[in-house]
Amino acid sequence: MRLLIVEDEPDLLAGLAKALREEDYAVDTAEDGEDGLFKATEARYDALILDVMLPGIDGWKVLEKIRAHKNEEIRKTPVLMLTARDRTADRVRGLDTGADDYLVKPFDLPELLARIRALIRRSAGIANPAIQIGDLSIDLRAREVRRGKENIPLTAREYSLLEFLVTRQGEVVTRTTLYDHLFDENESSFSNLLDVHVSNLRKKLGADFITTRRGHGYCIEKA
């Protein structure tokens, strides 16, 4: 899952980015509205964390432009607004402008992480954080995969790949999309890196768990 944080306070930005990376998200950052808008419309993100008060273009404008974008995937990016204003009017405005969630500074880190998880889950159309596929149970909340009672250890990248495919169960996901959502702007994407992760996942979860549609991409079939 790939996220973009737009926040002008460097220490806050750094802290958030680090916290989210530790949760195995691919995280991009922007320090002002223009850069944020540029990145949000150039890359594909699973969620946006957007500060309201930004130099250049403020958070409201960025949100408006994202919601008015011609690309549907970009237009539908879930957005969590961060703000130092806690008046009801501001919250209402935030939600009315098209924010999916709203968090007032200072916030608790665990709450922010939970909201991001919920945001991504909702946008994938999954209400229940516990997913069952065959004999595999995947807990999106604890980031754990079990077969029966046995815990299957996955690396962060493997889990991210699994999570991304599971939340799009039945869809064919292209390699480009996977690269877009699993690696952040600073990682150079080697073409075989993805194959390595897919192959490792098949070893751990079963060879036919992920099917390859040649020329299209990967897919976890619906049961």
């Binding site: 306070e9 220490d11 750094a14 200072p106």
Partner: protein, 498 residues
């Protein structure tokens, strides 16, 4: 409770006064009428009394018998032609003290002496007539009464009042003669009394009607007069309960209440603006504090989330320190502003040279200017002024820091000197300038031309507000002139005669 309201007490007083006035008028009218009627009756009675003593012709066929009137004439002397003053000293006997009784006009009734021998049917039959007037005369044990005199009439005692009296349905005249004779002349006044009752009922009815009308009118007038007050109080109530945008509807501006309303409305407007300002200030303060707190909260929660190498803890602590410093700076600025607002900031009053203060300030910020590659020009002419050199230096440093922050390249010029009896310091830059729309508000607290542009510079948004407060406390002025992408000039003027 309700009677404590002005409307009710107005109504009450109005009612009481109206009642008193009506009662006074009614009583006077009644008394006038009654007195007039009784006087008329009394006159009749007096006339009858006089008639008793007037000689009258004997009825035809009978021998002339001297009437009481004839005798009275010789007893009391005066005839119709005699007037007061013409009664020098005719004696009519003596009173109890053996003093001679003298007749004077008007007293003749009281002093009349009846004849020694009265005929048995003295006066009675021939005086009873249709006028309804009766008379009774007592001489010793004898009583002579006219036929229509009431039976229950008793001989008045010697001590009783003399003159007209009202006895039940009768009006009577009592006369005592020195000889001990008593004469009572009277008539029924039942008709008059009935008239009086009718009159009093009429007066009561009319009075009650007028009172009711007056009360209704008074209520109407009081309601009318109270309506603006009620609208004032209901608006004030709404304002007190938090809706500061309420205003009292303005009726006639010229009336006394109209003036009160306009004064109140302008007070409410000032209250609202002060309140809004206060609210905005509080929101701004909390906003400015939230971001550093967010840094501290998220950084520490991240660091404590798991075991980390020392270098990471160090980074966390550094971030927290920066956030704390920022909060400290903000709090110090707020405290200084509060002291300036409350007039608690202590200012020195010493003569100093503005050029020297500007020079010191320039030295302080010179490294920063050089770091940014900015040129510094100075034209420092001596300008003595009185005040707190340290605080003025704070103002100049603040202006210079702003100039450096908002000047990407070019030069900053500082000029001091004396202009029109003011010591002047002027800081000019070739920076990004301030849009005309923002220019009037740059001295407002927390006002930022661009919402977040000074955040990275560590500014709190209070520097110019503090500068202005300091300059104002010195009875000076501060103003800015600016052109976008050309630069800004800020001028501080301090009075020379402190």
């Amino acid at each position: 409770m309700i009677f404590r309201s002005i409307k009710w007490s107005l109504q009450l007083w109005h009612g009481i006064i109206l009642l008193l006035v009506l009662a006074g008028f009614g009583y006077t009218a009644f008394e006038l009428q009654r007195t007039r009627e009784l006087r008329r009756v009394d006159q009749e009675l007096q006339d009858r009394l006089a008639l008793i003593f007037t000689p009258r012709p004997r009825p035809a066929g009978e021998g002339r018998r001297p009437g009481l009137g004839e005798r009275a004439d010789e007893l009391i002397g005066p005839g119709p032609g005699r007037r007061e003053g013409n009664f020098p000293s005719e004696e009519f006997g003596t009173n109890q003290n053996r003093r001679p009784l003298r007749a004077r006009f008007g007293e003749r009734m009281r002093d009349l002496r009846l004849p020694e021998e009265l005929p048995p049917n003295f006066g009675a039959p021939d005086l009873a007539d249709e006028s309804g007037i009766y008379h009774v005369i007592w001489r010793r044990e004898q009583r002579m009464r006219s036929s229509d005199a009431p039976e229950d009439l008793e001989r008045p005692k010697t001590g009783d009042a003399v003159g007209p009296r009202t006895r039940g349905l009768y009006r009577e005249y009592v006369r005592f003669t020195p000889r001990g004779d008593v004469i009572v002349v009277g008539r029924s006044i039942a008709h008059e009394l009935a008239e009086f009752r009718k009159l009093s009922l009429l007066l009561l009815g009319t009075g009650a009607g007028i009172l009711a009308l007056g009360l209704v009118g008074g209520w109407f007038v009081a309601s009318r007069a109270m309506r603006p007050i009620e609208s004032i109080s209901s608006t004030a109530l709404k304002i007190a309960s938090g809706d500061l945008s309420q205003r009292i509807p303005q009726g006639e501006t010229e009336s006394e209440l109209g003036r009160v309303v306009s004064v109140l409305n302008s007070t409410f407007a000032r209250l609202e603006s002060a309140f809004t300002q206060q609210l905005r200030f509080t929101t701004d303060v909390s906003h400015e504090l939230r971001t550093p707190v967010a840094v501290i909260v998220s950084q520490t929660q991240l660091a404590l989330g798991r075991e980390r190498p020392a270098a990471e803890y160090r980074q966390t602590l550094e971030a927290c320190q920066r956030a704390a410093q920022r909060m400290r700076g903000l709090i110090e600025s707020l405290m200084q502003l509060a002291r300036l607002d409350g007039g608690q900031e202590h200012f020195e009053r010493k003569w100093f040279d503005l050029a020297r203060v500007a020079h010191d300030a320039l030295e302080l910020i010179e490294p920063l200017a050089h770091e940014r590659g900015l040129k510094l020009h100075t034209e420092l002419t001596t300008a003595q002024t009185q005040g707190d050199a340290e605080r003025i230096s704070q103002v100049i440093v603040n202006l210079l820091t702003n100039a450096i922050h908002y000047t990407p390249k070019g030069a900053i010029t500082v000029v001091t000197g004396v202009e029109n009896n003011f010591a002047v310091v002027r800081v000019n830059d070739t920076g990004i300038g301030i849009p005309p729309a923002d220019l009037p508000r740059i001295f407002d607290r927390f006002y930022r031309v661009e919402k977040s542009r000074s955040r990275e510079k560590g500014g709190s948004g209070l520097g110019l507000a503090i500068s202005k407060a300091i300059v104002t406390a010195h009875s000076g002025s501060i103003e800015a002139v600016s052109e976008v992408s050309r630069g800004t000039t800020v001028t501080v003027r301090l009075p020379i005669t402190g």
